[in-house]
């Protein structure tokens, strides 16, 4: 049984079809990378999985439970699925530690004191122990993005979604964020990434999907997809993406 399963997901914005019948299985502990040109539907697909967007047709299953039933309360689902955004989206009026503690405090009704040890642990694990009491604007882009990952992890999600999380970073900061992803994969987290980091996808992903115009054109193990792509469109994209 896959951890996360999309069946024929359709998403439209007005006349424009952004996801045109996407089906995808993600096994427990797997890292799946979505690649493809911007506007291909990667980000929208992730937002649909987290119920930030409603899908027009199809189903999304988490542990065999349909989470895409119209009218379903999205909040319990979102607690189980963490998401990290391209532009970090930290709350600028709170310190890093407060950013991380807000959701566990409000949603799980836990006190700051109760959370302190656990949060300190998380910050330490991701090399951020010195920055807990800094505000987002006192942190580098890489640090901010790592805090955003810690913030999502503090809710103890079962699946993590990453929406081009290195695209807004200076090149020298990309490495530290990718290291965090490797760490997470080793800890057995189930992850779906939309990414432009082809080198990383090839090295770390269990499965890679090439999306174009709202459809999965080709999917397979990283090695196979990068070395022997079958579809002409995939070949053309990879030729452009990997120079």
């Amino acid at each position: 049984m896959p951890k996360l399963s999309l069946k024929n997901v359709v998403k439209r914005f007005g006349e424009k079809t952004v996801c045109n019948g996407i089906s995808l299985d993600v096994e427990e502990g797997q890292m799946v990378c979505l690649i493809g040109a911007s506007g291909g539907g990667k980000s929208t697909l992730l937002r649909c999985i987290n119920l930030l967007e409603n899908i027009e047709d199809g189903e999304i299953f988490l542990d065999d439970t349909d989470i895409s039933i119209p009218g379903l309360d999205p909040q319990p689902v979102r607690r189980r699925i963490g998401m990290v955004f391209q532009s970090f989206n930290l709350f600028p009026h709170m310190t890093a530690a407060e950013n991380v503690m807000l959701a566990p405090r409000r949603v799980y009704k836990r006190s700051r004191n109760d959370l302190r040890a656990e949060i300190t642990d998380l910050f330490t694990r991701f090399g951020l122990a010195d920055h807990m009491n800094h505000y987002p604007d006192q942190l580098s882009g890489g640090q901010q993005q790592r805090v955003a990952i810690v913030r999502a992890l503090a809710m103890k999600p079962e699946v993590m979604l990453f929406d081009e999380i290195t695209s807004a970073l200076d090149p020298q900061l990309v490495g530290e964020v990718l290291d965090v992803l490797r760490l997470l994969k080793d800890s057995g987290m189930t992850m779906v990434l939309a990414t432009h980091e082809m080198g990383f996808a090839r090295e770390a992903a269990d499965k890679v999907c090439f999306l174009s115009n709202g459809e999965i054109i080709e999917e397979g193990p990283a090695k196979a997809l990068f070395e022997t792509p079958q579809q002409p469109e995939t070949q053309a994209f990879l030729a452009r993406a990997i120079k």
Binding site: R47, N50, L52, P74, Q75, P76, R78, R79, G82, M83, F85, S87, N89, L90, F91, P92, H93, L102, A103, R106, V107, A148, R151, A152, M155
Partner: protein
């Protein structure tokens, strides 16, 4: 030609800018001086100056009435102090009411919109008259016919409408991605608003709100039309008593002593915010 430091240790560019700065300071100083001289020399030359001087700038009247005016200004401050918190609370509630999505609360949205339209569309003095005379006219018993209550309510209703609009613009200025981030963590809509959107929105609109409250401090004087003997009314009493306008000048000075520092402070906050954002 290179940009080597000259004898004074300054580059060509620095010398040029020094020259430019000296020149603009000289121009500013001399033009200011010219304007002041013109006012000081020309105004007393006007035919009515002696009369104006006697009736508006009479030192004896000023000294005699100023302490009483200051005393009366306390009432203005009191009215301001109990109206301001009510304005903030009502303004915030109206702003939030106009933002609700739930269909059951749709009437709240309409009411909020109608409220802001009406009270922003009527001159403050008219609202003060209508509420200040109208509601006690219903024959309410003391103390419920007090012009303090209904006058303050008129100010509260008017200013809360403006303050609500400013809060709303602040809420809308917080980027949608902040709401997405809050929701993705499983926070409820109420918690997203309370802990993520509102704190940022309120911070952003503080300078604009300060300007509203400076205007409110001045508009408290409008309550004089319906009874309370605050500073403007007190000055009017002195004017009739002494047949002299100097008390009005005294009242103006008292207002300025409060509003100028407040205005400067609001400008300072705004400038600081603009610097931080760029």
């Amino acid at each position: 030609m290179t940009d080597k430091p000259s004898a004074a240790g300054k580059t060509r560019r620095q010398l040029y800018e020094d020259r430019l700065r000296r020149r603009s300071m000289l121009i500013a100083a001399s033009s200011t001086l010219a304007v002041f001289l013109a006012v000081i020399i020309l105004v007393p030359m006007s035919p009515g100056w002696d009369k104006v001087k006697a009736s508006f700038f009479n030192w004896e009247v000023f000294v005699k009435t100023f302490p009483k005016l200051l005393e009366a200004f306390k009432l203005d401050v009191m009215i301001f102090l109990w109206s301001a918190p009510a304005i903030v609370v009502l303004g915030l509630l109206v702003a939030l009411a106009r933002d609700v999505r739930s269909p059951a609360l749709f009437p709240l949205r309409i009411l909020g919109a109608a409220y802001t339209d009406i009270f922003r569309g009527v001159p403050v003095v008219l609202t003060v008259y209508l509420i200040g005379f109208g509601i006690p006219g219903l024959g309410l018993p003391r103390p419920w016919n007090s012009p303090y209550i209904w006058g303050s309510l008129a100010l509260i209703l008017t200013y809360a409408a403006y303050v609500a609009e400013i809060f709303r613009s602040g809420i809308e200025s917080v980027h949608a991605s902040q709401r997405s981030a809050a929701q993705s963590l499983g926070l409820s809509d109420t918690d997203s608003m309370r802990f993520v959107i509102l704190p940022q929105a309120i911070r952003r609109v503080i300078p604009s709100q300060m300007n509203m409250f400076i205007a409110l401090q001045k508009d408290v004087a409008l309550l004089s039309f319906i009874g309370p003997v605050e500073i403007f009314r007190q000055a009017g009493v002195f004017k009739s008593l002494l047949a002299n306008f100097t008390p009005y000048v005294g009242a103006a000075l008292i207002f300025l002593a409060v509003t100028i520092p407040a205005t400067r402070y609001a400008d300072y906050l705004l400038a600081k915010q603009n610097r931080e954002r760029s």
